[in-house]
Assembly symmetry: C2
Homo-oligomer: 204 residues x 2
Protein backbone atom coordinates (compact mmCIF):
# COMPACT_ATOMS: atom_id res chain seq x y z
CA UNK A 1 0.00 0.00 0.00
CA UNK A 2 1.84 2.97 -1.39
CA UNK A 3 0.73 6.46 -0.26
CA UNK A 4 -2.41 4.94 1.23
CA UNK A 5 -4.85 2.35 0.14
CA UNK A 6 -7.92 4.34 1.02
CA UNK A 7 -7.69 6.41 -2.11
CA UNK A 8 -7.63 3.33 -4.33
CA UNK A 9 -10.44 1.66 -2.47
CA UNK A 10 -12.56 4.74 -2.92
CA UNK A 11 -11.77 4.78 -6.62
CA UNK A 12 -12.73 1.10 -6.92
CA UNK A 13 -15.98 1.56 -5.05
CA UNK A 14 -16.88 4.69 -6.98
CA UNK A 15 -16.16 3.06 -10.32
CA UNK A 16 -18.48 0.20 -9.50
CA UNK A 17 -21.29 2.31 -8.10
CA UNK A 18 -21.14 4.97 -10.79
CA UNK A 19 -21.40 2.21 -13.40
CA UNK A 20 -24.29 0.49 -11.67
CA UNK A 21 -26.34 3.43 -10.49
CA UNK A 22 -25.07 6.43 -12.42
CA UNK A 23 -23.43 9.53 -11.05
CA UNK A 24 -26.51 11.13 -9.59
CA UNK A 25 -27.77 7.82 -8.27
CA UNK A 26 -24.63 7.28 -6.24
CA UNK A 27 -24.15 9.12 -2.99
CA UNK A 28 -20.77 9.88 -1.52
CA UNK A 29 -21.87 7.95 1.53
CA UNK A 30 -22.56 4.85 -0.56
CA UNK A 31 -19.07 5.09 -2.02
CA UNK A 32 -17.30 5.47 1.30
CA UNK A 33 -19.41 2.73 2.88
CA UNK A 34 -18.51 0.28 0.12
CA UNK A 35 -14.89 1.36 0.32
CA UNK A 36 -14.83 0.96 4.07
CA UNK A 37 -13.68 4.53 4.42
CA UNK A 38 -14.89 7.58 6.24
CA UNK A 39 -17.32 9.96 4.60
CA UNK A 40 -14.86 12.83 4.69
CA UNK A 41 -12.20 10.81 2.88
CA UNK A 42 -13.67 11.76 -0.48
CA UNK A 43 -13.29 15.42 0.31
CA UNK A 44 -9.81 14.90 1.61
CA UNK A 45 -8.47 12.80 -1.28
CA UNK A 46 -10.41 14.22 -4.20
CA UNK A 47 -11.94 17.51 -3.15
CA UNK A 48 -15.48 16.86 -4.27
CA UNK A 49 -17.78 14.24 -5.75
CA UNK A 50 -17.32 15.68 -9.24
CA UNK A 51 -13.55 15.47 -8.95
CA UNK A 52 -13.87 11.90 -7.74
CA UNK A 53 -15.80 11.12 -10.91
CA UNK A 54 -13.10 12.77 -12.96
CA UNK A 55 -10.44 10.65 -11.27
CA UNK A 56 -12.47 7.50 -11.87
CA UNK A 57 -13.04 8.41 -15.49
CA UNK A 58 -9.39 9.19 -16.10
CA UNK A 59 -8.26 5.93 -14.58
CA UNK A 60 -10.67 3.98 -16.79
CA UNK A 61 -10.11 5.89 -19.99
CA UNK A 62 -6.35 6.22 -19.96
CA UNK A 63 -5.57 2.57 -20.82
CA UNK A 64 -8.29 2.64 -23.45
CA UNK A 65 -6.80 5.73 -24.98
CA UNK A 66 -3.40 4.09 -24.94
CA UNK A 67 -4.72 0.94 -26.61
CA UNK A 68 -6.59 2.91 -29.25
CA UNK A 69 -3.54 4.99 -29.96
CA UNK A 70 -1.22 2.01 -30.09
CA UNK A 71 -3.63 0.16 -32.35
CA UNK A 72 -3.69 2.99 -34.81
CA UNK A 73 0.10 3.27 -34.67
CA UNK A 74 0.40 -0.43 -35.42
CA UNK A 75 -1.92 -0.11 -38.40
CA UNK A 76 -0.15 2.96 -39.71
CA UNK A 77 3.19 1.18 -39.50
CA UNK A 78 1.91 -1.60 -41.71
CA UNK A 79 -0.05 0.27 -44.34
CA UNK A 80 -0.82 3.82 -45.21
CA UNK A 81 -4.51 3.03 -45.67
CA UNK A 82 -6.00 0.71 -43.05
CA UNK A 83 -9.28 -0.96 -43.88
CA UNK A 84 -12.54 -0.12 -42.17
CA UNK A 85 -12.55 -3.43 -40.33
CA UNK A 86 -9.06 -2.82 -39.00
CA UNK A 87 -9.98 0.66 -37.87
CA UNK A 88 -13.16 -0.51 -36.18
CA UNK A 89 -11.25 -3.25 -34.43
CA UNK A 90 -8.55 -0.89 -33.24
CA UNK A 91 -11.04 1.71 -32.06
CA UNK A 92 -13.88 -0.33 -30.61
CA UNK A 93 -11.89 -3.32 -29.39
CA UNK A 94 -10.30 -1.56 -26.42
CA UNK A 95 -13.72 -0.37 -25.33
CA UNK A 96 -14.60 -4.00 -24.65
CA UNK A 97 -11.31 -5.10 -23.20
CA UNK A 98 -11.65 -3.21 -20.00
CA UNK A 99 -8.98 -2.29 -17.58
CA UNK A 100 -5.30 -3.20 -17.65
CA UNK A 101 -5.69 -5.69 -14.83
CA UNK A 102 -7.40 -7.94 -17.33
CA UNK A 103 -10.11 -8.99 -14.92
CA UNK A 104 -13.77 -9.41 -15.71
CA UNK A 105 -14.45 -5.72 -15.29
CA UNK A 106 -14.66 -5.09 -19.03
CA UNK A 107 -18.43 -5.09 -19.07
CA UNK A 108 -18.58 -2.74 -16.14
CA UNK A 109 -16.03 -0.50 -17.74
CA UNK A 110 -18.03 -0.06 -20.91
CA UNK A 111 -21.12 0.54 -18.84
CA UNK A 112 -19.28 3.19 -16.88
CA UNK A 113 -18.10 4.95 -20.01
CA UNK A 114 -21.56 5.04 -21.44
CA UNK A 115 -23.11 6.08 -18.17
CA UNK A 116 -20.75 9.01 -18.16
CA UNK A 117 -21.02 9.87 -21.83
CA UNK A 118 -24.79 9.75 -21.81
CA UNK A 119 -25.32 11.70 -18.62
CA UNK A 120 -27.19 14.90 -19.35
CA UNK A 121 -25.20 16.95 -16.84
CA UNK A 122 -22.17 18.70 -18.23
CA UNK A 123 -20.55 18.31 -14.86
CA UNK A 124 -20.29 14.60 -15.56
CA UNK A 125 -18.57 14.98 -18.90
CA UNK A 126 -16.18 17.77 -18.00
CA UNK A 127 -13.11 15.63 -17.37
CA UNK A 128 -11.81 15.06 -20.90
CA UNK A 129 -8.55 16.54 -22.05
CA UNK A 130 -6.46 17.04 -25.16
CA UNK A 131 -5.52 13.35 -25.34
CA UNK A 132 -9.07 12.38 -26.19
CA UNK A 133 -9.29 15.08 -28.82
CA UNK A 134 -6.08 13.93 -30.49
CA UNK A 135 -7.14 10.29 -30.70
CA UNK A 136 -10.58 11.22 -31.93
CA UNK A 137 -9.12 13.39 -34.69
CA UNK A 138 -6.63 10.74 -35.77
CA UNK A 139 -9.34 8.11 -36.12
CA UNK A 140 -11.66 10.53 -37.81
CA UNK A 141 -9.01 11.24 -40.41
CA UNK A 142 -8.28 7.55 -40.90
CA UNK A 143 -11.96 6.71 -41.31
CA UNK A 144 -12.37 9.60 -43.72
CA UNK A 145 -9.57 8.20 -45.86
CA UNK A 146 -11.06 4.69 -45.72
CA UNK A 147 -14.53 6.00 -46.57
CA UNK A 148 -13.89 8.83 -49.05
CA UNK A 149 -17.42 8.81 -50.46
CA UNK A 150 -19.01 9.66 -47.11
CA UNK A 151 -19.95 13.22 -46.25
CA UNK A 152 -18.40 14.63 -43.11
CA UNK A 153 -21.76 14.74 -41.33
CA UNK A 154 -22.68 11.16 -42.12
CA UNK A 155 -19.21 10.02 -41.12
CA UNK A 156 -19.69 11.75 -37.79
CA UNK A 157 -23.03 10.05 -37.41
CA UNK A 158 -21.42 6.66 -37.94
CA UNK A 159 -18.54 7.40 -35.57
CA UNK A 160 -21.09 8.18 -32.93
CA UNK A 161 -22.80 4.95 -33.83
CA UNK A 162 -19.66 3.11 -32.77
CA UNK A 163 -19.84 4.51 -29.29
CA UNK A 164 -23.57 3.95 -29.12
CA UNK A 165 -23.22 0.28 -29.98
CA UNK A 166 -20.47 -0.30 -27.48
CA UNK A 167 -23.04 0.95 -25.03
CA UNK A 168 -25.48 -1.69 -26.15
CA UNK A 169 -25.32 -3.66 -22.96
CA UNK A 170 -26.61 -0.65 -21.13
CA UNK A 171 -29.84 -0.58 -23.08
CA UNK A 172 -32.58 -2.79 -21.79
CA UNK A 173 -34.88 -3.72 -24.62
CA UNK A 174 -38.32 -3.55 -23.13
CA UNK A 175 -37.22 -5.09 -19.85
CA UNK A 176 -35.63 -8.08 -21.52
CA UNK A 177 -32.40 -8.91 -19.78
CA UNK A 178 -29.57 -10.06 -21.96
CA UNK A 179 -26.08 -10.88 -20.79
CA UNK A 180 -24.22 -9.20 -23.62
CA UNK A 181 -20.71 -9.25 -22.32
CA UNK A 182 -17.29 -10.64 -22.86
CA UNK A 183 -15.37 -11.67 -25.92
CA UNK A 184 -18.46 -12.67 -27.89
CA UNK A 185 -19.95 -9.21 -27.56
CA UNK A 186 -16.70 -7.70 -28.75
CA UNK A 187 -16.65 -9.87 -31.87
CA UNK A 188 -20.34 -9.27 -32.54
CA UNK A 189 -19.85 -5.55 -32.17
CA UNK A 190 -16.93 -5.50 -34.60
CA UNK A 191 -18.95 -7.43 -37.17
CA UNK A 192 -21.92 -5.14 -36.64
CA UNK A 193 -19.92 -1.93 -36.81
CA UNK A 194 -17.66 -2.85 -39.69
CA UNK A 195 -20.71 -3.60 -41.82
CA UNK A 196 -22.44 -0.42 -40.70
CA UNK A 197 -19.43 1.81 -41.28
CA UNK A 198 -18.83 0.27 -44.71
CA UNK A 199 -22.35 0.93 -45.96
CA UNK A 200 -22.54 3.13 -49.04
CA UNK A 201 -23.48 6.76 -48.45
CA UNK A 202 -27.13 7.57 -47.91
CA UNK A 203 -28.82 9.22 -50.86
CA UNK A 204 -30.70 12.19 -49.47
Amino acid sequence: MAPTDTRTQILDAAERLFAERGYRGTSVRAVTDLAGANLAAVGYHFGSKAELLAAVARRVVEPINAAQSAGLDRLAARTSDPSVVELVEAFAGPLFDGMPGGDESGARTSRLIVTILSDPAEEVRAWTGPAEDTIRDRYLAAFARALPSLSEDELWFRIRGILAVTAVDRVEVYNRQAPVVGEAAKRWAITFLAAALSAPPTAL
Copy 2:
Protein backbone atom coordinates in the same frame (compact mmCIF):
# COMPACT_ATOMS: atom_id res chain seq x y z
CA MET B 1 -59.22 22.12 -22.01
CA ALA B 2 -61.00 18.96 -21.06
CA PRO B 3 -60.81 17.85 -17.40
CA THR B 4 -58.13 20.42 -16.70
CA ASP B 5 -55.16 21.71 -18.58
CA THR B 6 -52.80 21.50 -15.63
CA ARG B 7 -52.30 17.81 -16.09
CA THR B 8 -51.25 18.22 -19.73
CA GLN B 9 -48.98 21.13 -18.98
CA ILE B 10 -47.23 19.09 -16.34
CA LEU B 11 -46.81 16.23 -18.79
CA ASP B 12 -45.34 18.59 -21.38
CA ALA B 13 -42.93 20.16 -18.93
CA ALA B 14 -41.89 16.81 -17.51
CA GLU B 15 -41.29 15.34 -20.95
CA ARG B 16 -39.00 18.19 -21.84
CA LEU B 17 -37.07 18.25 -18.59
CA PHE B 18 -36.71 14.48 -18.30
CA ALA B 19 -35.28 14.44 -21.83
CA GLU B 20 -32.89 17.28 -21.16
CA ARG B 21 -31.71 16.51 -17.66
CA GLY B 22 -32.70 12.91 -16.99
CA TYR B 23 -35.07 11.61 -14.36
CA ARG B 24 -32.86 12.09 -11.37
CA GLY B 25 -31.63 15.42 -12.63
CA THR B 26 -35.16 16.81 -12.77
CA SER B 27 -36.89 17.90 -9.59
CA VAL B 28 -40.63 17.95 -9.20
CA ARG B 29 -40.29 21.63 -8.44
CA ALA B 30 -38.59 22.26 -11.76
CA VAL B 31 -41.44 20.51 -13.54
CA THR B 32 -44.19 22.42 -11.81
CA ASP B 33 -42.34 25.71 -12.23
CA LEU B 34 -42.01 25.18 -15.96
CA ALA B 35 -45.61 24.05 -16.16
CA GLY B 36 -46.81 27.07 -14.21
CA ALA B 37 -48.46 24.78 -11.72
CA ASN B 38 -48.31 24.28 -8.02
CA LEU B 39 -45.83 21.85 -6.51
CA ALA B 40 -48.54 19.65 -5.08
CA ALA B 41 -50.21 19.26 -8.47
CA VAL B 42 -47.89 16.39 -9.36
CA GLY B 43 -48.96 14.47 -6.32
CA TYR B 44 -52.59 15.23 -6.98
CA HIS B 45 -52.67 14.32 -10.66
CA PHE B 46 -50.11 11.52 -10.80
CA GLY B 47 -49.44 10.33 -7.28
CA SER B 48 -45.67 10.48 -7.35
CA LYS B 49 -42.70 11.51 -9.46
CA ALA B 50 -42.22 7.93 -10.65
CA GLU B 51 -45.83 7.70 -11.80
CA LEU B 52 -45.42 11.01 -13.59
CA LEU B 53 -42.51 9.51 -15.49
CA ALA B 54 -44.61 6.48 -16.35
CA ALA B 55 -47.36 8.72 -17.70
CA VAL B 56 -44.85 10.69 -19.76
CA ALA B 57 -43.29 7.51 -21.09
CA ARG B 58 -46.62 5.99 -22.01
CA ARG B 59 -47.72 9.10 -23.85
CA VAL B 60 -44.50 9.13 -25.86
CA VAL B 61 -44.27 5.42 -26.56
CA GLU B 62 -47.86 4.68 -27.49
CA PRO B 63 -47.84 6.36 -30.93
CA ILE B 64 -44.45 4.80 -31.61
CA ASN B 65 -45.80 1.39 -30.74
CA ALA B 66 -48.76 2.01 -32.99
CA ALA B 67 -46.54 3.06 -35.89
CA GLN B 68 -44.24 0.10 -35.44
CA SER B 69 -47.18 -2.26 -35.30
CA ALA B 70 -48.88 -0.72 -38.31
CA GLY B 71 -45.64 -0.79 -40.25
CA LEU B 72 -45.22 -4.48 -39.64
CA ASP B 73 -48.84 -5.11 -40.55
CA ARG B 74 -48.34 -3.25 -43.81
CA LEU B 75 -45.28 -5.31 -44.62
CA ALA B 76 -46.96 -8.57 -43.72
CA ALA B 77 -49.90 -7.72 -45.95
CA ARG B 78 -47.58 -7.30 -48.92
CA THR B 79 -45.19 -10.18 -48.50
CA SER B 80 -44.69 -13.08 -46.17
CA ASP B 81 -40.97 -12.36 -45.88
CA PRO B 82 -40.08 -8.68 -45.54
CA SER B 83 -36.51 -7.69 -46.21
CA VAL B 84 -34.10 -6.51 -43.54
CA VAL B 85 -34.20 -2.97 -44.87
CA GLU B 86 -37.97 -2.91 -44.73
CA LEU B 87 -37.98 -4.25 -41.20
CA VAL B 88 -35.37 -1.75 -40.05
CA GLU B 89 -37.33 1.06 -41.62
CA ALA B 90 -40.58 -0.03 -40.03
CA PHE B 91 -39.00 -0.52 -36.62
CA ALA B 92 -36.51 2.31 -36.35
CA GLY B 93 -38.33 4.89 -38.44
CA PRO B 94 -41.01 5.69 -35.86
CA LEU B 95 -38.32 6.19 -33.25
CA PHE B 96 -37.19 9.21 -35.24
CA ASP B 97 -40.57 10.52 -36.23
CA GLY B 98 -41.56 11.60 -32.77
CA MET B 99 -45.01 12.34 -31.59
CA PRO B 100 -48.23 12.31 -33.58
CA GLY B 101 -48.45 16.08 -33.56
CA GLY B 102 -45.70 16.03 -36.14
CA ASP B 103 -43.83 18.92 -34.60
CA GLU B 104 -40.11 19.22 -34.16
CA SER B 105 -40.11 17.23 -30.98
CA GLY B 106 -38.80 14.09 -32.66
CA ALA B 107 -35.27 14.64 -31.52
CA ARG B 108 -36.36 15.26 -27.98
CA THR B 109 -38.56 12.21 -28.07
CA SER B 110 -35.76 9.90 -29.04
CA ARG B 111 -33.59 11.47 -26.40
CA LEU B 112 -36.28 10.89 -23.83
CA ILE B 113 -36.67 7.25 -24.75
CA VAL B 114 -32.97 6.64 -24.47
CA THR B 115 -32.69 8.61 -21.29
CA ILE B 116 -35.31 6.33 -19.84
CA LEU B 117 -34.02 3.09 -21.30
CA SER B 118 -30.47 3.75 -20.22
CA ASP B 119 -31.24 4.88 -16.70
CA PRO B 120 -29.68 2.53 -14.20
CA ALA B 121 -32.64 2.71 -11.80
CA GLU B 122 -35.28 0.06 -12.31
CA GLU B 123 -37.82 2.55 -11.06
CA VAL B 124 -37.33 4.44 -14.31
CA ARG B 125 -37.94 1.49 -16.57
CA ALA B 126 -40.86 -0.06 -14.75
CA TRP B 127 -43.64 1.35 -16.89
CA THR B 128 -43.68 -1.06 -19.86
CA GLY B 129 -46.58 -3.36 -20.47
CA PRO B 130 -47.63 -6.31 -22.62
CA ALA B 131 -47.96 -4.13 -25.73
CA GLU B 132 -44.23 -3.57 -25.86
CA ASP B 133 -43.57 -7.26 -25.40
CA THR B 134 -45.88 -8.19 -28.25
CA ILE B 135 -44.33 -5.80 -30.73
CA ARG B 136 -40.85 -6.79 -29.70
CA ASP B 137 -41.63 -10.46 -30.22
CA ARG B 138 -43.24 -9.88 -33.60
CA TYR B 139 -40.22 -7.99 -34.89
CA LEU B 140 -37.87 -10.50 -33.38
CA ALA B 141 -39.62 -13.28 -35.26
CA ALA B 142 -39.61 -11.28 -38.50
CA PHE B 143 -35.92 -10.49 -38.19
CA ALA B 144 -35.19 -14.11 -37.38
CA ARG B 145 -36.92 -15.16 -40.60
CA ALA B 146 -35.07 -12.52 -42.61
CA LEU B 147 -31.72 -13.50 -41.05
CA PRO B 148 -31.93 -17.28 -40.64
CA SER B 149 -28.18 -17.79 -40.39
CA LEU B 150 -27.89 -15.65 -37.24
CA SER B 151 -27.81 -17.24 -33.81
CA GLU B 152 -30.47 -16.08 -31.39
CA ASP B 153 -27.91 -14.36 -29.19
CA GLU B 154 -26.27 -12.45 -31.99
CA LEU B 155 -29.67 -11.46 -33.35
CA TRP B 156 -30.52 -10.07 -29.93
CA PHE B 157 -27.28 -8.18 -29.89
CA ARG B 158 -28.13 -6.57 -33.21
CA ILE B 159 -31.68 -5.74 -32.18
CA ARG B 160 -30.26 -3.94 -29.20
CA GLY B 161 -27.90 -2.20 -31.58
CA ILE B 162 -30.91 -0.68 -33.30
CA LEU B 163 -32.06 0.99 -30.11
CA ALA B 164 -28.53 2.03 -29.26
CA VAL B 165 -28.07 3.79 -32.57
CA THR B 166 -31.35 5.62 -32.35
CA ALA B 167 -29.86 6.97 -29.14
CA VAL B 168 -26.86 8.25 -31.01
CA ASP B 169 -27.72 11.89 -30.55
CA ARG B 170 -27.51 11.40 -26.83
CA VAL B 171 -23.87 10.37 -26.97
CA GLU B 172 -21.40 13.18 -26.92
CA VAL B 173 -18.21 12.06 -28.56
CA TYR B 174 -15.51 13.56 -26.42
CA ASN B 175 -17.34 16.83 -25.94
CA ARG B 176 -17.87 17.35 -29.65
CA GLN B 177 -21.31 18.69 -30.25
CA ALA B 178 -23.10 17.51 -33.35
CA PRO B 179 -26.64 18.35 -34.36
CA VAL B 180 -27.74 14.89 -35.39
CA VAL B 181 -31.44 15.32 -35.77
CA GLY B 182 -34.26 15.37 -38.22
CA GLU B 183 -34.94 13.51 -41.40
CA ALA B 184 -31.27 13.19 -42.33
CA ALA B 185 -30.50 11.35 -39.11
CA LYS B 186 -33.38 8.99 -39.76
CA ARG B 187 -32.10 8.13 -43.22
CA TRP B 188 -28.53 7.79 -42.02
CA ALA B 189 -29.65 5.52 -39.23
CA ILE B 190 -31.61 3.27 -41.55
CA THR B 191 -28.62 2.95 -43.88
CA PHE B 192 -26.34 2.28 -40.93
CA LEU B 193 -28.62 -0.26 -39.31
CA ALA B 194 -29.69 -2.13 -42.43
CA ALA B 195 -26.06 -2.75 -43.29
CA ALA B 196 -25.25 -3.76 -39.73
CA LEU B 197 -28.21 -6.12 -39.41
CA SER B 198 -27.45 -7.71 -42.76
CA ALA B 199 -23.86 -8.54 -41.91
CA PRO B 200 -23.00 -12.25 -42.07
CA PRO B 201 -22.85 -14.07 -38.74
CA THR B 202 -19.72 -13.67 -36.67
CA ALA B 203 -17.45 -16.69 -36.67
CA LEU B 204 -16.57 -17.34 -33.04
